[in-house]
């Protein structure tokens, strides 16, 4: 029951998009199959990330800090990050991965990709990059909790909002939003550009031809920043004493 219900919950948003696209047929020149490629990829990655980085989920981590259970983690003679990775592993998050696979399957059925060896090799790299990048956001979100103790809803804009944002072709967004998600948080290179490569679509934003291959770079950059911030935040930790 649990596995079924989370999958359903997060897939509802995309289901609404599917229904609307049955009437409109395309968005920004992209068909339903192509949009499903974007949505399927990021849903799969986010689901996987949620399982691996579950211990850094700000919603869960704030509870750990508030209750004082975080002190137990600090006392153990094992690396803190290792303890937190997988500390909040929930099988029901598999629902989200499955749902991503369904969207991805829908995409392949509607819009066949002309696969090559290079594309097949790059696909897992993109998924891994997305997992690492979204996980980095979880780390930053839980790092902030050392100051605020309570979870910060605005962080959800970047994580859950990011998933929805990356489910559409980026060129439909206004310039300021595009710029923020290119130079601020490099979401653009994590899903949209790789999708251009897989689907053989032209780049309308005018980045260099190798931009589709920046996904691992963007992810590595985000992870480094997240680790640095996490260490910095940890020094500010004061137990709630409860």
């Amino acid at each position: 029951m649990d596995l079924f219900s989370t999958g359903l919950m997060s897939g509802i948003g995309f289901l609404a998009v599917v229904l609307v696209m049955l009437r409109f047929e395309s968005i920004g020149g992209w068909t339903l199959g192509e949009v499903a490629f974007l949505a399927g990829m990021i849903e799969m990655s986010f689901g996987l990330m949620d399982m691996v980085f579950g211990g850094f989920d700000p919603d869960w981590f704030s509870g750990v800090v508030q209750s004082g259970r975080f002190d137990q983690f600090l006392l153990r003679p094992v690396n803190l990050a290792t303890q937190l990775l997988g500390a909040n592993f929930l099988l029901r998050r598999l629902g989200r991965v499955l749902e991503g696979i369904v969207f991805f399957g829908l995409s392949l059925w509607l819009t066949p990709v002309s696969w090559s060896v290079a594309k097949l090799l790059y696909l897992p790299v993109v998924v891994l990059s997305q997992v690492v990048a979204m996980g980095s956001l979880f780390m930053v979100g839980s790092g902030l909790i050392f100051w605020t103790v309570q979870r910060i809803e605005a962080v959800n804009i970047l994580t859950y909002g990011g998933v929805e944002l990356m489910s559409y072709p980026v060129h439909i967004y206004p310039r300021w939003l595009q710029r923020f998600f290119t130079f601020g948080v490099p979401f653009v290179f994590l899903n949209y550009y790789p999708a251009l490569y897989f689907l053989d679509k032209p780049d309308v934003l005018g980045f260099p031809v190798f931009a589709p291959f920046w996904a691992p770079l963007a992810a590595a950059g985000m992870l480094l920043m997240a680790i640095w911030f996490w260490r910095f935040a940890l020094r500010h930790y004061q137990s709630t004493g409860s």
Binding site: M9, Q150, G161, L165
Partner: protein, 254 residues
């Protein structure tokens, strides 16, 4: 300490508004990209679709669109025992409790949201006093339908220890069918027709279609009557399910 709590509450409110604003703007951008050069789709203009999305986001807190779990938590904690000995009916007690919070949110989250949203996109207002009045009645009916629906979902806790999981699934379904995520009018006709056989469009889609002026004349009255019908039907079902459940709960607690 009181001040800190107040500040934390304020901060939470602004963070919540920022989240609503982000998702609201995202949906509007998507709608603009979908419409492209089309002036009207299935009788709905782009400006009406934008206003629809803005109003839909503004009533999230008032209508508790994402669902609630207060009641089921009192069942699991045992606090329900105190509520059952109160000299008011159980349904009425929760209705009053819920309505108070909702009313605060209508202004605190709804009005403030619309003012913020207006900084980005224009939001239309209902045409005249009659339209405002009809919208008010429809929104109130929508709230009643939403309350009875949430009451029913929470009653699942009388039967199962995982009412939260049940709620996650059912509140997801009601969000889709209510037209909260995307206007039902922009979905295929067969889906819209089927959705009318559920109480969910009465919660969000109907009040907002009245707000943006998509319903008039006989169509408007039919929509209001349909809503009232669902409100009464769900109220009746809620009484029946509660009566069946409370007998069971007493047995378990004995």
């Amino acid at each position: 300490m009181g001040l800190r709590q107040q500040m934390a509450y304020r901060l939470a409110m602004w963070a919540g508004l920022a989240t609503n604003l982000f998702f609201g703007l995202l949906r509007v951008i998507v709608l603009i990209a979908l419409y492209q050069a089309q002036l009207s789709v299935n009788g709905m203009s782009l400006q009406q679709a934008i206003t629809y999305s803005a109003v839909a986001q503004s009533v999230i807190a008032f209508l508790t669109v994402f669902g609630s779990s207060d009641l089921m938590r009192t069942v699991y904690s045992g606090a329900i025992a105190t509520d059952l000995v109160r000299p008011v009916g159980f349904y009425g007690y929760w209705l009053a409790r819920d309505f108070g919070g909702s009313l605060v949110n209508l202004v605190g989250r709804g009005l403030v949201f619309l003012l913020l949203f207006r900084l980005f996109y224009a939001v239309d207002l209902p045409n005249d006093v009659i339209a405002w009045l009809c919208f008010g009645v429809s929104l109130a009916l929508g709230w009643w339908v939403s309350f009875s629906w949430r009451f029913l979902v929470n009653l699942a806790s009388f039967w199962t220890p995982d009412a939260l999981g049940v709620g996650r699934a059912l509140f997801g379904i009601s969000q889709l069918f209510s037209g909260f995520i995307m206007p039902l009018r922009l979905m295929p006709d067969w889906f819209r027709q089927w959705s009318e056989f559920t109480p969910f469009p009465s919660m969000v889609n109907t009040p907002i279609e009245i707000y943006v002026g998509l319903l008039s004349g006989a169509e408007l009255w039919r929509a209001l009557l349909w809503q009232a019908g669902w409100a009464l039907a769900l109220f009746g079902v809620a009484q029946l399910v509660y009566a069946a459940g409370i007998r069971r709960l007493v047995l378990q607690g004995g």
